[in-house]
Symmetry: C2
Subunit: 505 residues, 2 copies
């Protein structure tokens, strides 16, 4: 085999500051790992290697020595240097790792679906992930804040800080919440490495295996996963229509659940807003039963029409509502900065748990967000993203109405990220997703948001990640898929028996 075509100086990165011998060693190791140079291959003599890379012979010798130390190549004295056996590359583990692992909850449906939607074919328009548009991330503002303030920053602020969070940020969040009618002071706030961490910590502190939790159905996948991983049993509260407080009360009496998890505003995935009166009735009921409510509120700042009602936490008259917020949806997810507001005794206990996990959250992000809030940049940024997302919502609503109205029903959301669609046809959303993949469009099938099997006629479209042109193209691809399926359905025997459950034997 002609090695020289695989090994030559063109592949070296001259801007790289690493020593040349190391760059060459890494390059060869890479080719070996990718099996461009299979095991057993005789490598060029040192002098030849030096010529190939236009380096000194010492450099070539050092490169081979390095590779030999790592067991990637071996030298047969008087014969030459050879690529080692593949199994020598990473020492064949003699430790049976998987046998050492603790039990893991069976891979949930949601996770399987995530694999389907997260690795789409090239050119696919994904309306799956609930993400803000990267083009709208306020990176310029952050750069400005960084530069204007780094000079007067106290270096100690970048050392260890209390587990509860960077105090100036806790204070700024308390002030922000007070503005929203949620009375909070610094000690009521715990900053989090994303609001996901709040769910995790709450599950550690409140749930033991076998405990019941009440969740809206459908609801946020991440919350389902965390609570189920803690061994909790989920009681479903349908939320597509009016919330049934009768059913909730029945659950409360029958099961004494540990908590109710809710997204009252621009719910994920339905986009629904719990009306003011229902909020007050819910609080009354919760107060009577001293029920802990975990209110997850990532979307309420993203309203495209009238202001949503006050949060449950603002209406809390019995101290039982825990509030979760995040900057992931309104600024950008990579900040990994969320927060939890609750009674001090709870904050303290959650912090004791958090210290084991990461000591405290990232200071750079907390410092940046503090300045963003204190310099009043949030309102201005929200104005920008609200205006843009409203246009996108309207574009998608019109396109769905024009192109898909025969096949699906949907409600235009008043805020947040999502359209929740319902198929009129005799087809499941998972089947639709499979067909849609061929037309390079993806979304999340409704099944993912449920803990129990459903008829699977619903699916979620996110309208914030892409601009209007891409959204339009996406809806066109969806419409095309729906038309194709309708045609196939008509071609099929109309007398086919209804879908049945067959025993697997």
């Amino acid at each position: 085999m002609d090695i020289s075509k695989h090994l030559n100086s063109a592949e070296l990165d001259t801007l790289n500051k690493q020593p040349l011998y190391l760059q060459i060693a890494l390059l060869i190791a890479d080719k070996i790992q990718k099996q461009v140079l299979p095991s057993g291959t005789k490598l060029p003599p040192e002098r030849e290697l030096a010529d190939l890379f236009a380096v000194s012979r010492t450099t070539a010798i050092n490169a081979y020595r390095k590779l030999e130390q790592q067991g990637v190549v071996w030298t047969k004295v008087g014969s030459g240097t050879y690529v080692a056996q593949a199994r020598d590359l990473e020492p064949l583990s003699e430790v049976p790792w998987p046998q050492l692992f603790t039990a893991y909850p069976k891979k949930p449906l949601a996770s399987i679906l995530r694999d389907m939607v997260s690795t789409p074919a090239p050119g696919t328009i994904s309306l799956a992930a609930g993400m803000p548009d990267p083009a709208l991330y306020p990176l310029e503002t952050f750069t400005e804040l960084f530069n204007r303030n780094i000079g007067r920053a106290a270096p100690a602020d970048f050392g260890h800080i209390p587990t509860e969070g960077y105090n100036p940020l806790r204070r700024a969040i308390a002030a922000m919440l007070s503005e929203k009618g949620i009375p909070a002071s610094t000690e009521n706030i715990l900053t989090l490495s994303g609001s996901q961490q709040g769910l995790y910590l709450l599950s550690k502190v409140l749930l033991e295996p076998g405990d019941y939790v009440v969740m809206e159905a459908p609801t946020f996948i991440g919350a389902i996963q965390v609570f189920q991983a803690a061994g909790a049993r989920v009681l479903s509260l349908p939320c597509s229509e009016k919330l049934s407080l009768e059913l909730l009360e029945d659950y409360l009496i029958r099961y004494r659940p540990k908590l109710l998890y809710m997204i009252p505003t621009y719910q994920n995935p339905t986009g629904r807003v719990l009306p003011e009166q229902e909020r007050q009735d819910l609080i009354k009921l919760a107060k009577r039963h001293r029920l802990v409510i975990v209110e997850d509120d990532p979307y309420s700042d993203l309203c495209y029409g009238e202001q949503p009602p006050q949060s449950l936490k603002a209406l809390d008259s019995y101290g039982g509502v825990v509030y979760l917020g995040t900057f992931s949806k309104i600024l950008f997810p990579g900040l990994r900065t969320g927060y939890l507001a609750g009674p001090h005794v709870l904050i303290n206990r959650l912090a004791l748990e958090k210290q084991f996990i990461d000591l405290h959250s990232n200071n750079i992000a907390q410092w940046l967000v503090t300045m963003f809030l204190n310099e009043g940049r949030l309102d201005q940024h929200l104005t920008t993203v609200r205006r843009e997302y409203k246009k996108r919502r309207d574009t998608m609503a019109k396109a769905l109405q024009r192109l898909c109205a025969n096949d699906i029903e949907f409600i235009v959301p008043e805020g947040g990220f999502y359209f929740w669609c319902k198929l009129k046809q005799a087809v499941t959303s998972q089947r639709l997703l499979q067909e849609a993949a061929k037309n390079r469009i993806s979304f999340v099938p409704g099944e993912a948001f449920h803990t129990v099997p459903t008829l699977d006629k619903e699916f979620r479209l996110c309208f914030t990640t892409h601009n209007e042109a891409v959204l339009l193209e996406g809806v066109q691809r969806l419409a095309k898929t729906l038309t194709q399926i309708t045609k196939k359905n008509k071609d099929k025997d109309n007398d086919a028996p209804p879908c049945s459950v067959w025993p697997i034997i």
Copy 2:
């Protein structure tokens, strides 16, 4: 009471971008919370409030309305505005929170000691925390890297990324480890929110209640806490002297422990380096028993003399060593960026656990560290901190020798952060700490690093946080404390019975 002295425009922050009514409301709420304005206080009429703050009457009215909404004040029609009862400020919780919490491991000694050392009197010189000196944080380099690269950064890099970490960082870490003789490619690396998170994830994935783990004694407090919180039983391997592989083998046969946790280089707290030969013998033994070794290596880059031996991971011939690294000690702790290197199957399982906890670690820090590594800034920074810390180590060694040699023994560490000292006198390190607090000097008593009670004659001094002048002053205060204790001991009856264990009845 004359309210006007508490409420006036001088206290308003004119640079603050918040609306004036809100600033006034927050100011009043703050005074109420601090009980400068006790409950029942009659507040000035709106017109008077407007005059006090030099604002319009509408602004004053809005400030009171805001406070009323929050339940902080109440208005009696025709009479005026009053501070509400204290219990109305945060709704008296009708939820018995502590009764809802899951069981928590009894507050460990380490945590009690932490309270003692973390809240010292003003003016105290703390040699307790294991922290780099904030004055040496490379914030200027980070600022330069930020500015030179933010323009060409892909915004999507600040969105969601894989749980395993920011891929360019994983790649850079793999290259860095390869240079240290640890063969690793991208899929062998998991980035962490600090290496503490690696310990937590390993405990979730490998430990079930009742499992055994072997740990050096003394060792890192955070590791003890995490493993004990997972319900593990700790087997102690004394490490102040030569490591006893005979004892380890006895443990392996007798208890089949799930893992051995070790800090082989510049150990915390002893500063000890496991010699090359002992490392090879340990690996041989571990291989024979297929023992998982968790090698924690935060300090090995901080050598002040000759290079330490290769890491256990570099010597790993059986695929059983998991390696933990961090940028907290060499760059700064607030980055919250650590990493774990191990077999791919383990990385994958740890990532499944991590996604519940925080989805992924902070992108800003990961992006910054990537550039720091790829632009070759680490070597240059390490040269600076090594030179400085070496001077501090020498200063402290000389001072201890000159001022404390009658009372303590110590070994000069060849790297890392710590002096490990042993009291020659009939006094425990906890007693010494109490006396030392009066002289405004603190450290960590040795007891904190053990899982079982010891004679408590040892303590740890960190020499990296303060400059040489402060270190000198610190040692002088320590010497003064030791002299005082010696004197007291001499004054006491020399025939006092030896320390005994008395039943508590």
